[in-house]
């Protein structure tokens, strides 16, 4: 048996993407999507998965960005941690931070969907149909969704060649129709995901945390942020 040296812990929203690029020997743990909504609880969830990783693992790859500080404080005893140097997952799915910044500049009010969200995660559409409507009835459900989405103008399906695109397309198009948003398909890329799995990990695009040290927000916050005019 070859020694397992790397272990991936990622948000389930990336399952299709990581499955597409991971070598067979890479151990993988997926955690539920949506942890970022309660960022205060997120470090404990990731730490729990990390504590289950064996001592033979040298490098733990984290399929997370800063995620509203949801990774801050996470530390591994004997493994090095590597994670993409991004604020949230859209950059990872589009292939680079530059692409994300270009999309933000072109249409700031974009609700991004990938096959991963449509299949494993929750979207405003699934919440509307499965939670708000049954609990509150149509008028109030509409009000809630309206408040959540009022500053969005389009739904963009990220197409990177992985996952169940047909199901995702149907979900995204329905969401656009139900909430009166524009619909677009934009190209994604598996490049960034592949680089996380394969390395090398340069400091510009990745944060590398040595064993025993905790993840700090600083390397993420010193990135170029949305510029003021």
């Amino acid at each position: 048996m070859p020694r397992v040296r790397r272990h991936l812990i990622a948000c389930e929203v990336f399952r299709d993407e990581f499955e597409a690029v991971s070598p067979p020997g890479l151990a993988r743990t997926y955690l539920p999507q949506g942890l970022h909504r309660t960022p205060g609880k997120m470090p404990a969830a990731i730490q729990g998965a990390l504590n289950g990783v064996g001592p033979e693992v040298e490098t733990v790859l984290l399929g997370y960005g800063l995620c509203s500080n949801g990774v801050v404080g996470v530390a591994a005893r004997s493994a090095r941690l590597v994670l993409p140097r991004i604020h949230d997952c859209i950059a990872l799915l589009l292939g680079s931070r530059d692409r994300y910044e270009a999309e933000v500049a072109a249409c700031p009010g974009t609700y991004y969907i990938t096959p991963g969200w449509a299949c494993y995660g929750t979207t405003s559409l699934s919440c509307y149909k499965n939670e708000y409507l049954p609990k509150y009835g149509e008028e109030t459900a509409r009000y809630i969704a309206g408040e959540l989405l009022k500053n969005y103008s389009r739904v963009a399906l990220i197409a990177h060649g992985g996952g169940d695109m047909e199901a995702a397309r149907a979900h995204a198009a329905e969401m656009a129709e139900v909430f009166g948003l524009a619909y677009a398909e934009i190209p994604g890329s598996l490049d960034y995901v592949r680089r996380l799995v394969q390395g090398p990990w340069d400091g510009q695009d990745f944060v590398v945390v040595e064993p025993g040290s905790a993840i700090s927000p600083t390397p993420f916050l010193t990135l170029h942020t949305i510029a003021l005019p």
């Binding site: 909504r37 609880k41 509203s68 109030t140 009000y143 500053n151």
Partner: protein
Amino acid sequence: MDLNALKDAVINGDLKGCTILTEVAIQAGHPPEKIMNEALVPGMDVVGEKFRCNEVYVPEVLVAARAMKKSLAMLKPLLIQTGAKPVGVAVAGTVKGDLHDIGKNLVCMMWEGAGFEVVDLGVDVSPDKFVQGVKDTGAQIVGISTLLTTTMLNMRGVIQALERAQLREKVKVLVGGAPVTQTFATEIGADGYGESAAVAVEKAKELLGIA
């Protein structure tokens, strides 16, 4: 008439209940300030605290906010009639680059409930627009909100713009939003940090020396 029922209606997001019970409270002769301070604001405090502890989530908060807003709208004309002076003037906005406004709207509503005159500058607000907002309203409180780690540093830009406009000494700056901490607030030179809408009310009053 017991104002607890109205408080519960706010907590439960009961729009109809809030409408009826506010009317009943007015008819029963309760002053509008009392209805705000003893039913609406404490009701929303409970919701805010539950939200902070992850006992309820954004939909419950929104529904409660809608109910409270309805009551506030009914009380406002009465407050104007009685000639009640606002306890202070506040402007609030979500920082440049960020379009999220649920938290900011909640703070605006809570400030209003606490007797402030509130001018909501909206979302994606540039530093210049904050400065203009202060000039136009004579605000003593500036509330800056953000949900994103990408935009939290833009809060510093607002404070710097207030300094450049020589308004910094005239206002108290309060910051808040999911990624913001007291440490960050101190680092960028804010006067206060509100970890919830209820705390934002306490801080604003404290900074203006209102008991």
